[in-house]
Structures are given as structure tokens and as C-alpha cells.
């Protein structure tokens, strides 16, 4: 795959289709791939990487990149393409300045999961079908690839690339996904248990803003949490309330726009399952207002800017099942 992407990048640069290519390169570690812009063939040859660790969703970078001189090529995995289309819908990306190469995807890897299976000091990971060969300082282990997928890939909602100029690999389908199972599990708990669960998780938040910075929906010119006039400006967390506030407001602001790309949880250094908040909104929206997938098309109204005359009342929250808090 990496070879095909590299060839495509070189081709697009050499035939002047684009002036830049947005892809991935190695960061501090081999599994720590970061987004990068390549302007020359040399850079591509030398630095361009695509591997099981190319999880980063590149769509958000196009907000800036598409406004610069010249056209930019971008590689989008299926879930990235949803984010891309959602941003297009919000007029955030200038489509004419972007050349989208859609790439099929069979799931990306989570270093945490590899480590969790006893692999310390990992020096290389090679893929061979469903098997991963993990080289460590202490020897080599073979793992099942499925056991090492990122959470979002383990419950992948769609292999369909919804926007592209060109495809590498096969176009996929929307999938039946059990991604809401964990949300449902939490819903089944008592309010006390849920409260304890979230306290436990959110109390670890260090307000590094990684979730915000990576999120394609969190792309405001100026975030309310940085804005003096918003009344909620807050750079560091001083109180449990502020931990809650930041994540509630963040989830609310992306509700109806979040494509469930899972980047927030992937980048969280404290491993807080932030995507569960967004998924809760998606699950509620699906149940209350009909199934809606942000970014799936260009014209459906977002559920929060839409309504029907006979929408459910907010009291549904109080009346439906579960233990009264």
C-alpha cells in the first residue's frame, strides 16, 4: 500500500496536478506517524510513510491547506472522507483546491493494544494478512491483527469512501456496526455508577487540548474556551466542574457534526474514552430523530439545525428506562 501511495504522490507532483501532498511521516517513533505536507519528490521519497499506524485523519488540515496557493493532494481513508465531506458541507474546505485520493482501509493499529499484550520495547511491527509480527528488544512475538486494532476500527461503521477524485484499492460498503454497545452498557448502569465512571475518566484530563486540536469538527476560528468574551474561557482545569464543562460543551458543539472518526480518543494521552460522549449524542440522534451520519452526504440537514413538528419532548430523558437518579 505504501508503495502505491508513494507512486501516486510522485505522479501527482510530477504531472503538476498538485503542488503539495498531504500525507504522513514518521515522528519520534516508528509507530508515531504525524501528518506532513510534502512539496517535492525528494521529500516524498525520503519521508512519506503509510502503515498501520497512519491513523491520523488528514481532513482537518485542509481547512488551512486548501486556502493556500496551488492545489493539494490528500490521502483519505474511508472514515476520514466523512470528516472531509462534513467540512465541505460547512464550507470550510475549498473543494477545487483539493485532489482527494481515497484509500481503502482494513483497520489501523493501536500501539497501546500491542503493548497490552505483553510487548514492551517494540522496535518494529510488520503485517502479514491477519498476523502481526512484533519485534521487540526482547525478541519477536506474533499477534492477531484483529486484537490490535484501534477501537474505532474494531467497530468500523463504514468502509465506504464518500468523497474522492481517485481511488486506490476497492470502494467499500457501510457496515453493520456494534459501535454503540459500550454506550448502551453505560446507559444500563445506575446514575451513581455512570457518575463514578465519568469522574474516574475525566478526572484524569490534563486539558492538553489534544482532543480539540485533532478533531475535524473542532475547527473553530477561535474556540470558546480560548475566548475571553465567551464566559467559559479556561486554559487549565481548576475544578472537577471544569473537567465536565469542557467535555460536555465540546461534545455538544460537535453534536450533529461529529462523524465518529474516533480521533479524540486515539490522541488522548490519558486514554480517556472521549468518543463515548460523541457516540452517545449520535446514538440519541439516531433514536430520537432517525438515523443520521454526519458527512455521509452534502445536503441532509444536521439534526440540530432541523426539526419535525412531532419531535419527542425533552422529558423523554426522564421517562425512558434506566434507574432514576
Amino acid at each position: 500500500m505504501q508503495k502505491r501511495l508513494k507512486e501516486k504522490a510522485l505522479e501527482l507532483l510530477s504531472n503538476c496536478t498538485v503542488t503539495r501532498v498531504l500525507g504522513w511521516k514518521t515522528g519520534e517513533f516508528f509507530y508515531d506517524l504525524t501528518p506532513a505536507v510534502f512539496e517535492t519528490a525528494e521529500e516524498v521519497e525520503k519521508e512519506f510513510v503509510y502503515s498501520g499506524f497512519s491513523g491520523a485523519n488528514l481532513s482537518k488540515y485542509l481547512i488551512q491547506e486548501s486556502r493556500k496557493q496551488g492545489k493539494v493532494a490528500v490521502f483519505l481513508k474511508p472514515c476520514d472522507s466523512y470528516s472531509f465531506q462534513q467540512l465541505l458541507k460547512e464550507h470550510r474546505i475549498l473543494r477545487e483546491n483539493v485532489y482527494v485520493v481515497g484509500i481503502s482501509c482494513n483497520g489501523l493499529l493501536d500501539m497501546e493494544k500491542i503493548r497490552a499484550q505483553g510487548c514492551e520495547g517494540v522496535t518494529a511491527v510488520t503485517e502479514d494478512g491477519d498476523t502481526l509480527t512484533v519485534d521487540t528488544l526482547y525478541g519477536t512475538t506474533k499477534l492477531s491483527r484483529n486484537d490490535c486494532l484501534l477501537e474505532r476500527c474494531a467497530v468500523c461503521k463504514s468502509k465506504k469512501i464518500v468523497a474522492f477524485d481517485e481511488l486506490i484499492g476497492e470502494q467499500g460498503e457501510e457496515l453493520e456496526s456494534n459501535r454503540f454497545d459500550r454506550v448502551a452498557e453505560l446507559e444500563a448502569m445506575t446514575p451513581e455508577e455512570r457518575f463514578a465512571f465519568w469522574r474516574e475518566e475525566l478526572s484524569r484530563c490534563i486539558r492538553c487540548n489534544a482532543c480539540r486540536n485533532v478533531c475535524p469538527a473542532c475547527s473553530c476560528e477561535k474556540c470558546v474556551f480560548d475566548n475571553e468574551k465567551s464566559g467559559v474561557r479556561n486554559k487549565a482545569i481548576a475544578d472537577s466542574f471544569e473537567e465536565n464543562l469542557f467535555h460536555i460543551i465540546r461534545a455538544f458543539h460537535v453534536a450533529g457534526r461529529c462523524t465518529d472518526c474516533g480521533e479524540c480518543s486515539r490522541v488522548c494521552p490519558q486514554n480517556i474514552p472521549l468518543h463515548l460522549l460523541n457516540r452517545k449524542f449520535i446514538k440519541d440522534i439516531n433514536e430520537f430523530y432517525g438515523v443520521y451520519q454526519a458527512g455521509a452526504d452534502m445536503d441532509t440537514k444536521s439534526p440540530l439545525t432541523d426539526f419535525t413538528l412531532d419531535d419527542c419532548e425533552p422529558s423523554i430523558v426522564h421517562e425512558r428506562g434506566g434507574v432514576q437518579g
Partner: protein, 662 residues
Amino acid sequence: MQRIGVFVCWCGSNIAATVDVEKVSQVLAQEPGVVFSTNYQYMCSQAGQEMIQESIHKYQLTGVVICSCSPRMHEATFRKTCEKAGLNAHMVEIANIREQCSWIHKDMATGTEKAVILGRAAIAKVHLNAPLTAGQSPVKKRALVIGGGIAGIQTALDIADAGFDVDIVEKQPTIGGKMTQIDKTFPTLDCAACILTPKMVDAAQHEKIHIYSYAEVEKVKGFVGNFQVTIKKKARYVDETKCTGCGLCTEKCPQKKVPNAFNLGLDNRRAIYIPFAQAVPKIATIDADYCTMLKSGKCGVCSKVCTAGAIDYKQTDTYIEEEYGAIVVATGFNPIKLDKYDEFAYSQSPDVVTSLEFERLMNAAGPTGGTLLRPSDGAHPHTIVFVQCVGSRCDDEKGKPYCSKICCMYTAKHAMLCREKYPDTDVYVFYIDVRTPGKNFDEFYRRAVEEYGVHYIKGMVGKVVPQDGKLKVQASDLLGGSQLHIEADMVVLAAAIEPDETARPLATMLTASMDTNDFFTEAHPKLRPVESPTAGIFLSGACQGPKDIPETVAQASAAAAKVIGLLCKDSLTCNPCTAQPDELMCNGCSSCEKVCPYGAITYADKEFRGPNRTTLLRRVAQVNPAVCQGCGACTVACPSGAMDLKGFSNQQIMAEVDAICR
């Protein structure tokens, strides 16, 4: 820092009885920014207002908090007071310590404590208030009247006489509406045509009135003072500028079997027609559903006989765009369909007719030339039964819950005319109640009973059985305590009336509200009866509720007066509390635009300074302050908080929250 004055009103004892006003003014005097605090018996009185004005000067107040009755009561009063003293009207906040405090609490300590908190919230808000100036939006000095019945005609004539241009849009080929089909009018028994047709001609000849007949409103955009309306002129396949209305084509057309809608299908007309002799405009129209030329391309008789060369089979619908300052709805009514009331055998016998059909049967221009004859066999009826309240006053889904209002009177008229013209007829009227509130109305009804010998029977008809050329009527006589069996020749049903079916989609276009019966809602049921709650939309005639002719005409003129009052102005003061985007923070994502009910938000590409001396072109929201009504839906839809609402800003509301929760 603002310099705030606090004024606590006693409202006589209304507030002072449960709120320690002295203490409230003392405590609030300690709040930051408060430079003056006092209390007074009646703040809204002349003396109270003067005290506020003096204090503004004396203490150089930049903000005023009045702790008094509801802002819905006196906010406007106090704003004016302060404005006169040179303070911006929007630097005034009211703390509602009467309706929401003194009147609902009995305990002085509780009331006082709450009043202080409400005062603090108002002070906190004033700290963040900024002077607001209302914008002005120009008024397009032209009115649109939708519906060309007696209501629409009267409204248009009155507006035009005041010197403003008026357009009438009428969906039928002629104006005149229901009144053209009526024979005589109660309680004076004037001939309807004799009093209506001159008005129709007046309207047509008035230099300020333009009539779009056979036309419908297609689209409405804009707002009070500045509506943009698209009118669809339906193809009538006759060139209006050429047709002389000679009527030759309507005699020569070979398609003779077209039910005549003007006579409610009681006789036939041709496929090309002029609805009636006094039609305005008197122009022929081809009924595309029946014209063989239009359907199969074979015929062309009308074209051949038309010396003016007015026939145009290729004509298509055309669209006209026009701007208006005000819109009057005059869409009128129709009798309901009677398919759910077939116990009266309406569908089974042609001799069971509606009251409107009966009008045509009595009318000299009607299918029987004005002689009352049974539709089935053309015989003179000798026994006629009138049934009242058919579909009115029903609480089931078959009928209407309201009283149709006009039926009692027109039935008395029908009964009277029958007895007068044909004294040998027996006339029965079955009624539930006889409702005759109106000038000379009850006298009229009594005349029908006393002078004309109409049999009024308190009771209802349960079943009509057509048999052997007769209508066997089974009815109750509640006062006589019997079940009656009458062999009638005709049965006349006073069908309930309902708003025209075009009213509902029109209301949606106008964003004017309607009640559950599809009547337009008035802005206030008593005090603003001819205005819709939507600014710039006015109501004339039966579209607002069942009405007889005198009432319709009165309301039509009232609506006209309101329209004239609006069109007299060169510009309108806008709501100053409008949404305002901070362009630096705007993402241009269109979320706000999608929730705006007024279409007040548009987008523009603007250049912004980027890093390293670059410029960035960004899409940012723009609010038209003339259109924005200040609901604030956009402010919450905006994820970045770029959109805020003047007068109810995020910071102001949060300051109030803080003060209350403190």
C-alpha cells in the same frame, strides 16, 4: 464602570406590602457601580418619572435599574422616560418584583430577599448593556390583496383611494367571489349583484388598482415594508389585451358538457367561458380540462370565430415579481363538502341542495332563470325543508366545531323569499338555536315567522329518504315532543363554511399563524382583529372567521386603514436587539443560516489578515438587521460563539445567572 441608579417602586401597597422596599434600595445601593438608590410610591407616575430623569442628570447615570412591575407592563414607559433624559433606552433594565415576587409571596422576609436578588441580576445585566439604536427599513408603498371577493375589493378600493397602489390577486377568472353567486342579501333583501358589480367595476377602473385575475401567489419573501412576491398568472389561452369580451366564442364552442362552476354544477357551460355577464375583467378563459383543442389538437372553433384574434392555444403560465410593503389576506370561505352527511341524501337526490345552490336556483341569472324549480324534474316544489347547522357546531371529525354564523340569517331570507314568491309552498326550518345578533337581524327572522308563516321547528332532521319522487323527511320536534314525517319536495342544507383550501399553504408562505380550523389568527382577538401576528400581514373577511357581508366589509375597511397607516410611513423602526456576528470568530459554517426563520443571515467572502503578512479569504456571516427579529436561534447554533444577540448577549445572560446563583 457604569454609573447605575436603582429605583425601587412600591406600587402603592402592591409591592410594599410584601417587600421591604426601603431595605431593597439600601442593599442594592451597596452593589458595585450603583451610585444612587431610592424608592418611591409610584415610579410610573409623572412624579416618579421626573425623579428618575432628575437623578440621571444629577448623578450622571449611565444605567438605570427599575425594580417594579413586569417589563411587559412598563418597560416601554421607563425607556421613554430615560430617553428623554438623554440616556439610551436600552440602558434600562427592569427587575420584576411585583408579578414575580410580591404578588406570589406572602412573607416579607422572603419577598425582600428575592427582590434584592432580582435587583442584583438586573444590575449585573446593566453593567454589560450597551446603547442600542434601532435601524430603519424603507417601506415599499404598494399593497397586495390576496383574494378578490367583496373583502378584497373593499380593502383594495380603500387603500387605493388613499393614494397607494394596490394589486389584487384572484384565482378565478373574475373578481367578485362568493357574493356574485348570492341572489339577495339580508336583512334588506337588496340584490347582491346590484350592490356588488358597481364595486367590481370601480376596482377595475381605479387607476391605482391592478387586478391579476386567474392568478395565484406562488412565493413570498421578505418582511414588513419589503415583501417580494412571485405571482403566477395561469394560462387562460386568451390574450387579455386583445379579448373584447364579446362572448361569441362562448356560444360557438362545440364542447357543451362542462359543469358550470358558477352555478355550482346545476347546469353546463362551454369549454371557453366567461363566468357571468358582469365578470371583471370580462375576458374569456379556456378550461384546459375540457377543451378538445388543447387536449387533442383538433377543433380551433373559438380561434376561428374570434375576430380580435385573442385566442392563443400556446399560452403558458407566466410569473410576475413585485414588491409590496403590506399584504392583505382575503381568501374567503367555501361551504364544506357534504359527503359525510349523507343521512340527508345529498348525494342520492338532486332535490337535496346546499343553501348556495339554492341561491342559484332563486337567481334570475341562475340555471332556472330565477324560477324556483326542482332540479330533478323541473317541477315547482310545494314543501321545502331547510336544515340548519349541517356540519357546524360539531365536536367530531366530520364537521366543524364553530358556528358558521351566517346560516340562520340566510335561511330566514330563503324561507321568506320562498313564501313571498310562492305563497302556496310550505316552508319548514329545523333549527337548534336561531342566532340573529345584528342590526335588524332578529326583526328579520321574526318577520319570516310572523308575516310569512314559515314553520320554525326546534329540532333536527335525522334522515331523508328519496322515494317516489318525494323526499321523506324524518325529524324531531323537540318542543312539540314528536317525531315528524314530512313529505318534502326539496331539502335545503345549511352547510357549514370553512376557509378556502388555498389559505393553509398561503399561511405557510406568509409565516402567518392559523388556528386548528385553518382560519387566520389575529394579532389580538379583541384589540388587533385585522392584523396577523406576523408584521405586515393583514386579514380581511372570512379568512379570519365566519362573517356576513356587512361585517366583512367593515373588517375589509379596517384592514385597509391599518395598511394605509403602514404605507404612510417612509420607513419602519427595526428591532434593535438583533443578532450580530463577530467576523473574526465566524467559521462561515452556515449553521446559523439554517436555523434562521427569517432568512436574515447571508454570507460574504472577506479578506482577513493571516500569519506572516498573508491575507486569507474567509466566508463570514452577515445579519440583515432589518430582517432579524432577535430570537437568538443562531446564537446557540454557532459553535464558536461568534454569533451573539444584542440586548441578550451571552455575557449579559450569564451575568444574570451569576447574580441569581450567587
